[in-house]
Symmetry: C2
Subunit: 353 residues, 2 copies
DNA sequence: GCAGGTTACGTGACCGCTCACAGCACCGCC
DNA sequence: GGCGGTGCTGTGAGCGGTCACGTAACCTGC
């Protein structure tokens, strides 16, 4: 009003940080808020970070100004100075088919996203199946784009396990120690497997086979639990090692088991998906479940309720695993002490055994 | 060597930007690379962004220096000035159970992550089921943390559809127009549904029911395709509307259909998961598939191969949908023109029909 | 021999935030 | 009255990049 040229004047006030060009940039900045609230940028920053040493009056003014300007912090600017990104990487080092196949991953992913969100962290999903992708993930993670890493079923040979173990970045693995020095959150696989095996024994089953899956995290423990209960009765030919936790692998394993021991009367599969495959194959062979052969699964994933008959299985508290993983990781990010956690499982009896 | 104090000297050269304190910070900076390569920061920056106007000698020196220092760009610093984040949000606005239930989402997610990775973009997964989450997503997306949004099965009422349509941020929806002005990538649902229905007719089926699912993206189109072929023969009692694409909904719908029309001899389910539920219910009712009742699905997802009998279905090119979504979105991000795309489907004949 | 263009390179001035520091008012206390 | 807190606020100096400019070297062509 006072000066006709004041809004169009290119930059007559190099000292006032961008005062006159607000609104043509992407969103209002901290300076805009400060100006509206009639305080300095420092005070606004203080409000943003906990509001210590801010007078009630200033606090109110700033909060009001934030609302009227529609201010949102620029995370890039903040990260640049704090060296924190408020993001974590969810790294899937399995061959991709796993995410695709296993409903457990979806649960994990969903719960982690949610738990992180509640703490205002975001989840960056990264695949690591090809060599190219591995490089990209490595660069990304090392580049400080994330504050921590959630490792999903990483194998011991994973290239940056070494990095992470060396403390380059906080990390927590799912399911089992990914490497020395990397904390993990897992279900008590071995104890759960014992429970299921014991249950089958208690049901009067005599020839109890197992479809194990040693290449996958948790697999060896589940097999160990089975052997704990059966001891020397765990005949070699009653144990088949599946390639992965897939329906197809379950079908193949069951066929093998039937060929080796036609008199089998129970089967414990190391995952529900394997169990579902086993049930299909048993039906195809003319056997009734559970009358002729009882089938026990592991996970209590969605499909346990969809098989025919519904699956007796060991419930793995995956939602809790996810939450605990996030909890451990964020503690580490904040440099608080945190260590591995083991979560209890639970037998869920349905119709298959 | 020349001066005993030179490495520990606090900061005697305020003019040379951080020259002496490299290595105690998180990773080397562009200045470190410049120093090692014997060039200026500007030249290194040019190498980073396409290497125009850089001499072969300098280029080599810089590349070498990057390797020896182990340099990785600081995306925050870069984003701060370019206002680009090289990240996109994958927003799931369904109630969470969907991700959990539907194998299609996994495929979409996996392929999007991969396609984005190839362009050096990262994928931030965001859930939007509770009101809190919706706010968070809104703030996040508006805050310039991402360059674009991949909308997964958004309903028309979604709160930031409005924002996105107004061009606040590039966005592309999956499956169908999420709102006016938002481009989408979808399969030709209607045409696919026509094909399946026609196939069932050609097989000599007379009473062809449909398990539709109108609340879900693509659902209405599939029902329309069914009606296109059957015309007035599409009796009201032969059509059931399921609540969602779940196994349980398939079971329930099939039961309803059987009650209304016991003489039904074929069923077209709007998704494989629904079809799987239908098969289970048909078996339970004592009917044989396909002898008594033929079952057709839609999607050609993983489960189509796992049902008993394997499912005849309409293949939806989901991997391609994902790739095209990313392609369209990145074009929009680069301010290139791009528009909606429709992808062809394909009939896959297996044993169920 | 010099105008003119092209290529190569260095130099500030930012981007929007945080953080340390300095300043100031106000208090109580010897 | 001087002195040390304590509470609140403003300010300058970065964080690590990019980008517009200025400049210098070199080639060309008249």
């Amino acid at each position: 009003m006072a000066d006709a040229t004041d809004t169009t004047d290119p930059s007559p006030h190099p000292k006032s940080r961008g005062a006159a060009r607000r609104a043509l940039r992407r969103g209002p900045t901290i300076d805009d808020v400060a100006e509206v609230a009639g305080v300095s940028r420092g005070t606004v920053s203080r409000v943003l970070n906990g509001a210590h040493y801010v007078s009630p009056g200033a606090l109110k003014a700033v909060e009001q100004a934030m609302r009227t300007t529609g201010y949102t912090v620029n995370q890039s600017a903040r990260s640049l100075v704090t060296k924190q990104s408020n993001a974590i990487a969810f790294v899937l080092s399995e061959p991709q088919e796993r995410l695709f196949e296993d409903p457990n991953f979806s649960v994990l992913l969903r719960c982690c996203t949610q738990a992180l969100g509640e703490q205002d962290f975001s989840l960056v999903l990264m695949l690591e199946s090809s060599a190219d992708e591995r490089d990209r993930v490595l660069r990304y993670v090392r580049g400080g784009h994330v504050d921590g890493v959630l490792l999903i079923s990483a194998h011991a040979g994973d290239p940056f396990i070494g990095d992470l173990a060396r403390g380059v970045l906080p990390a927590v693995a799912c399911g089992r120690p990914a490497g020395p020095g990397i904390p993990y959150v897992a279900a008590e696989d071995r104890q759960g497997a014992r429970e299921m095996t014991q249950y089958l024994v208690d049901q009067g089953r005599r020839r109890i086979g197992m479809i194990a899956c040693s290449p996958v995290v948790g697999g060896p423990e589940r097999l160990a639990g089975y052997r704990d209960v059966l001891g020397r009765k765990a005949l070699k030919r009653l144990v088949v090692d599946a390639a992965d936790y897939s329906h197809a692998a379950g079908v193949a394993a069951m066929r093998e088991l039937l060929a080796a021991s036609p008199d089998i009367d129970a089967v414990f599969a190391a995952s529900d998906l394997l169990a579902a495959g086993a049930i299909d194959e048993l039906r195809r062979s003319g056997r009734r479940v559970p009358d002729d052969v009882a089938v026990g699964g592991f996970d209590d994933s969605r499909i346990a309720r969809e098989t025919d008959p519904p699956l007796t299985t060991i419930r793995q508290p995956l939602e809790q695993v996810a939450r605990e993983m996030v909890d451990v990781l964020l503690r580490l990010v904040r440099r608080e002490p945190a260590s591995s956690r083991l979560l209890p499982t639970e037998l869920v009896v349905r119709a298959s055994a």
